[in-house]
Amino acid sequence: MPGAADLGARRRMRRRLCIAFSAAALLLFGSRVWSADATDPDWPCVQRKVPTISAGMIWAGPALDQALRSTWRADEAVARLVPRLAARRTELEEAETLIESFASGLKAATRGRRLALLFAGVLESINTERRQIMAGIERYTRKQRELAQAVRKTRDELSAVLKMANRSDADKARRRKLEETLSWQSRIHDEREQSLQFVCESPVLLEQRAFAIARAIMNHLE
């Protein structure tokens, strides 16, 4: 039966191996974070980076000229409705009801233009939110890259201490400290890495929303 000292030594060995493996894995595979899009080193997502949702992709109603794009705020009813339609907390069914109620009060002569104004407003709002999210994802990537560099630095320092033939008590304390730091750094990096796939879904979810709202508005065009 192993003694307490043996068990302690084994645990320490296991922990060191574990830290070494996770640090090695991070350095080997961690680069995935900033290599998903070869043309943009800060874009980590598998989903292609599409900076803006263009109207043509999701809208087959009246053309959105520049005047229309810049005047939607001047239409009081449209300006009131846009934030509610763009907000993700508004369920799609509720958004459809809101659009229906707005459309039912429109005069035939201005119907197409006002529905197009509504779409222009929703598209601008969703694109603004989406751009902010995408900028956040890129900041996230840069932080991950810094974290990976920090892991590399700690690992090199630890490796230098482990190579010492005669370690003083101070060296031993330093080694423990470095192991602990490496363990935390690897853990934070891995957890952030796991969250990435959920973060990357956000721009796509907003694209889906923009499309669904556009379609709901177009249903009232004829």
Binding site: G56, M57, I58, Q208, F211
Partner: protein
């Protein structure tokens, strides 16, 4: 009183003589949910969905209309379901990563494109055995068969070719170079043309199957949509050869093409990342699977209008229409 009864009886007789709209069932594979949604073609509602294997994509119905065949790509198998009960009956050997499949016009055998293995696997439906394999280009995908069943055409995504395969000798008899990433091959009902969509190239090549020369490359142009988003995938041509419909992937549109002049007539906004298409047998409706908006759009073929979009499972991919 007697007259009134007579009128009522005549009225009822007249009403009963009006044929009810034919009800078909539309089966849609949901790639991310591992399910198939069943839509009624009259109510245009999902009436049920059932679990299938992992990553279901290609889906077809046997010629007798009794079995539903589903490519469970990540399970490396083709599952066979009873179309009445929707119960799994058995699986067929398919080779790895089956993606699309097609039947010989006689109903047997079955040809399966194995994306990961650069092969076409030929399976006897009755004996449930592999009859042979044909090595083709890299990442085989689209499958078309001539109406007389003599020529199978497979497209390979990376080699950018349409391979013409003799169905009796299993030999490749010719290759036609098309634009980048060919996805779908579709013969017209009279066998006079073969349409091949190229996803990255953004074109559809119309090929003469006799000379094996490209007659025309159809290009697409939608105002406000960047060229790189115009990615043709699914193709269907009406039985009379008058019109073709081409799904344009992330452009979210189906192009309506005059199949005589080979000119695009119209673009219909359907759903996000429109992928595969299927007509009802009477060609009244065309259904499109829209992978990103998680729905199926119903196109009224006579009016060339989108009638409705129906929510399905996640990532609807393949679609087939049957009588049951």
């Amino acid at each position: 009183m007697r007259r009134l009864i007579g009128i009522i009886v005549m009225g009822l007789a007249f009403l009963s003589a009006i044929p009810a709209a034919k009800a078909f069932k539309v089966y849609v594979t949901n790639e991310k949910d591992n399910t198939v949604s069943v839509i009624d073609s009259v109510t245009l509602k999902v009436e049920k969905s059932f679990a299938v294997g992992q990553r279901p994509r290609g889906i077809i119905i046997t010629k007798d209309g009794k079995r539903l065949l589903v490519c469970a790509s990540d399970d490396d198998t083709v599952q066979v379901f009873d179309i009445k009960t929707l119960k799994l009956l058995y699986t067929l050997p398919s080779g790895p990563d089956p993606e699309l499949l097609i039947l010989h016009p006689s109903g047997n055998p079955l040809y399966i494109a194995n994306e990961d293995d650069n092969l076409i696997t030929i399976v006897d439906l009755e004996a449930r055995k592999i009859l042979g394999e044909v090595p083709v280009g890299v990442e085989p995908e689209g499958m078309g068969i001539s109406p007389d069943g003599k020529v199978l055409v497979n497209t390979s995504e990376t080699t950018n070719m349409a391979h013409f395969i003799d169905t009796s000798s299993y030999e490749i008899i010719d290759n036609v170079l098309v634009d980048s990433r060919p996805r779908v091959a579709e013969f017209t009902a009279d066998g006079s043309q073969l349409w091949v969509s190229s996803e990255i190239g953004g074109t559809v090549a119309v090929i003469d199957p006799v000379t094996r020369k490209i007659v025309k490359k159809i290009t697409f142009d939608v105002p406000g949509v960047p060229d790189e988003a115009l990615q043709p995938v699914g193709i269907r041509v009406t039985r009379d050869g008058a019109r073709a419909f081409v799904a344009l992937g992330p452009a979210n549109r189906v192009a309506v093409v005059n199949a005589k002049t080979l000119e695009v007539e119209k673009y219909l906004l359907v759903g996000q990342r429109v992928w595969q298409l299927a007509f009802t047998p009477d060609e009244k409706y065309l259904f499109s699977t829209n992978g990103v908006s998680n729905d199926v759009s119903v196109i009224d073929v006579a009016k060339l209008k989108v009638k409705k979009s129906i929510r399905t499972g996640r990532f609807p991919w393949g679609v087939v229409v049957g009588l049951e």
